[in-house]
């Protein structure tokens, strides 16, 4: 294949909880003409340490990511939050270390969130998928505000046969996940996610989509606790035509998944 060589930054949550999203990302990248590879030396982007104020540990994690990915034409993550970490925050990490700063900046310049990459870099206008249902879409904060991911998923979703998008009232308001925030301040996080699930249910949609596993697990967990019959999926699953598996946190019909 002659397309760009893309290193898939799987993200820890997709790797551990939702491999389907990783395979969906590979499928989308390959169908768009890329060579997708998955370096084994990846774990996490380092946000837990970075958001706790532990710069040293963050640097250690980031150096591993930079070394594993700097040989690719692009680094793509199915997450606005992790891609934002690579693109926006890695260069801030190494203020005193010129050589690592340069490597971090080089990596940042070629790091993308998956759907943003498909639309803005690969100029993808349509995906070959169908989805029968009414979906609503939550704009995850980092993707939206750090990377400007807003129109791209909507553009691709608009081309999917059978899919109706019904916009969420507070689509740009945080769902209350915030990484460690949701366990540090569970009561506040609960109020935020409760507001969010109310808006979701109010749309009458049968499916909720977003581009970040953290937010999705938060909203799925709350919707299920509330007994709401809304299915929750990563947008890549729908775009890749892989929405036939059980949704996030949904009961499976047979054996162990995947």
């Amino acid at each position: 294949m002659s397309g760009p060589r893309v290193g898939l930054f799987v993200t820890c949550l997709v790797d551990l909880f939702r491999p389907t999203v990783g395979f969906a990302a590979v499928k989308l990248l390959e169908e768009a003409g890329c060579t997708a590879e998955v370096p084994q030396a990846q774990t996490c982007c380092g946000q837990p340490a970075w958001n706790t104020g532990d710069r040293k540990t963050t640097q250690a994690v980031a150096k591993g990511v930079i070394a594993a990915f700097e040989g690719y034409d692009y680094v793509v993550a199915p997450s606005g939050s992790c891609a934002g970490m690579l693109r926006v925050h890695y260069p801030e990490l190494f203020v005193a270390d010129e050589s690592w700063k340069a490597r971090a900046e080089a990596l940042a310049a070629k790091s993308w969130e998956l759907v943003g990459f498909l639309v803005d870099v690969l100029k993808l206008e349509r995906v070959a998928a169908d989805y029968a249902g009414i979906v609503t879409y939550h704009d995850s904060c980092s993707g939206l505000r750090e990377l400007g991911v807003k129109a791209q998923p909507r553009a691709l979703l608009a081309g999917i046969g059978g899919l109706h998008l019904r916009e969420l009232a507070d689509a740009e308001v945080c769902c209350g996940f915030g990484g460690t925030f949701c366990v540090k301040y569970p009561d506040i996080s609960d109020r935020m996610v409760s507001n969010k699930t109310k808006s979701i249910v109010d749309t009458g949609a049968d499916t909720l989509l977003a581009g970040d596993m953290g937010c999705l697990m938060n909203m799925a967990g709350k919707l299920q606790r509330e007994g709401a019959a809304v299915r929750v999926r990563h947008v890549a699953e729908v775009l890749a035509g892989m929405a036939d598996r059980p949704a996030i946190g949904e009961a499976r019909d047979g054996g162990e998944g995947a």
């Binding site: 799987v10 997709v14 790797d15 551990l16 909880f17 939702r18 491999p19 389907t20 990783g22 084994q40 030396a41 990846q42 774990t43 996490c44 340490a49 958001n51 706790t52 104020g53 532990d54 710069r55 540990t57 250690a60 994690v61 591993g64 801030e92 904060c141 980092s142 505000r145 750090e146 740009e172 915030g178 990484g179 460690t180 925030f181 949701c182 366990v183 540090k184 301040y185 569970p186 009561d187 506040i188 996080s189 609960d190 109020r191 996610v193 507001n195 697990m217 799925a220 967990g221 709350k222 299920q224 606790r225 598996r245 996030i248 946190g249 009961a251 499976r252 162990e256 998944g257 995947a258």
Partner: protein
């Protein structure tokens, strides 16, 4: 830190989350402040460029702050004003008290001033037998309820109409108990009539300042009610309380910042009253104060210059950050435990009272970034909250469980092979634990999560394990 409960943010927040009145009171913010801002921003194509211009003005001013303050002081004095400098709140209180005593003041009219809150002016006046009368409607309401402001521009935003009505009935005992106060208009009229009488009784009027203009030696206040104007025009003495970063070079510079201030704050194109005060009344003026004093307060701000929190000094106190903050909207302003709530408070409070007294505040954010998105002065609020978190981590102020969890996580995150092995086992176990249900109702060590939500189970094997198998790479 006396008077602050910022260190107790978590308990404060839990208390406020259970407050049904707060929830009802804040529920309208989206329709008013957020929608209002969006509407006026859409009506002004230059809005973002004006934000850039406003930021540049403040950056330039801060880089020459000593000079602009000295020019402002000189011109204020040339216009007949008196300038007093206060290193801290105790000095500010002493100056205000001395001025009030010299005037023989028994009552003081107050326009809304966050610096007065920071300095505890009301408590000081009361302790000295001088009656402070808050004239801003919201400030008046919380004064009769013995509360503090919960928002920097809407001090009583945490209260419902019914709570206001109850407080009025309890306080305004001389009025007909059968009067109808169901309409907000009736409450306003009652407050207006009561405060009207008080305006004429006070010997001193205290206001804050949105700007000090170096070019003209003026102070500027921006209000909607007109109370700040009556407070400063009717008494014999006008005292302005201003923190030192309020100075701007010229009237043109003030205009640029004014263009983004009201739009960001209340969603108005311009506030109703923008008032420039320069010195005391002139010889042939028919009204206005005979004396004009400005107290310039530092209280830790000069120490922020040139440091990691320098950019916070650009803040113009519009409140857009808290209007758009999902955490503030959930817990309200009182949870933050000191004068300044919301994202701007989470950055400013630790700088003014010490991070050891306000450690939870910079952590009370999901870093959703909405505050920075709307800040008219483009202050990188989440980035500065993160800088506070770094300081906390370095000083050992980060709570133990977080430190230990992070250490354990780091041990795996920096060792990919070990990480793959352990996570592979753990996810398999979790998936088996969840069984066909696909989710967990309870999970050890994740009580904060499962108290309120189901925990979605992993699909089973990790992506890395399956990928290695499918693509045959090690």
């Amino acid at each position: 830190m006396e008077g602050s409960t910022s260190h107790d943010f978590k308990a404060n927040a839990t208390r406020e989350l259970a407050n049904a009145d707060l929830r009802a009171a804040l529920s309208g913010s989206d329709r008013t402040f957020v929608a209002g801002r969006a509407r006026v921003v859409a009506n002004l194509p230059e809005f973002d460029a004006l934000r850039d211009a406003a930021k540049a003005i403040k950056d330039h001013t801060l880089a020459n702050l000593d000079h602009y303050l000295e020019v402002w002081e000189r011109r204020a004095r040339e216009a007949g004003g008196h300038v007093h400098w206060a290193k801290d709140t105790a000095e500010a209180r002493a100056i205000v008290l001395a001025l009030c005593k010299r005037a023989g003041a028994r009552a003081v009219n107050k326009g809304k001033s966050m610096i007065a809150e920071e300095c505890g002016i009301n408590e000081m006046l009361e302790a000295n037998g001088i009656r402070p009368v808050e004239t801003d409607l919201g400030e008046y309401i919380i004064q009769i309820r013995h509360e503090t402001p919960s928002h920097i521009i809407a001090p009583a935003i945490h209260l419902t109409k019914a709570q206001v009505e109850k407080s009025f009935r309890e306080t305004h005992t001389g009025l007909d108990p059968a009067r109808d106060l169901t309409e907000p208009r009736a409450l306003l009229t009652e407050a207006r009539e009561i405060l009207r009488k008080k305006y004429f009784e006070a010997e001193v009027g205290i206001t804050g300042a949105n700007f000090l203009v170096a070019e003209t030696g003026s102070s500027i206040i921006v209000t909607n009610e007109g109370n700040g104007d009556l407070s400063q025009l009717l008494p014999r003495i006008h005292i302005v309380l201003a923190s030192l970063e309020k100075v701007v070079p010229t009237l043109e510079d003030a205009s640029t910042i004014l263009r983004v201030l009201a739009r960001s704050a209340t969603g108005q194109e311009f506030s109703t009253y923008t008032t420039l005060s320069t010195g005391p009344r002139r010889a042939d003026d028919l009204d206005g104060p005979e004396e004009y004093h400005v107290v310039v307060l530092d209280n830790g701000r000069a120490a922020m210059l040139g440091g990691e929190f320098h950019e916070m000094l650009r803040c113009i106190r519009c409140g857009a950050c808290m209007n758009h903050c999902p955490v503030y909207q959930a817990v309200g302003g009182h949870a933050y435990g000191w004068v300044y709530p919301g994202p701007m408070g989470a950055v400013l409070t630790p700088a003014l009272i010490g991070i050891e007294h306000a450690a939870p505040l910079p952590n009370a954010s999901t870093f959703c970034g909405r505050c920075e998105q709307v800040c008219p002065m483009r202050i990188p609020l989440p980035g500065m909250m993160r800088k506070w978190r770094e300081r906390e981590f370095d000083k050992g102020l980060t709570p133990r469980p977080a430190r230990q969890g992070l250490k354990l996580w780091a041990a795996f995150a920096t060792r990919p092979r070990l990480y793959r092995f352990v996570t592979g086992l753990a996810m398999g176990a979790l998936a088996r634990l969840a069984g066909r249900k696909g989710r967990l109702r309870r999970l050890p060590l994740a009580g904060g999560w499962t108290r309120y939500r189901e925990f979605p189970a992993p699909e089973g094997r990790t992506f890395q394990a399956m990928w290695a198998e499918k693509r045959g790479r090690p």
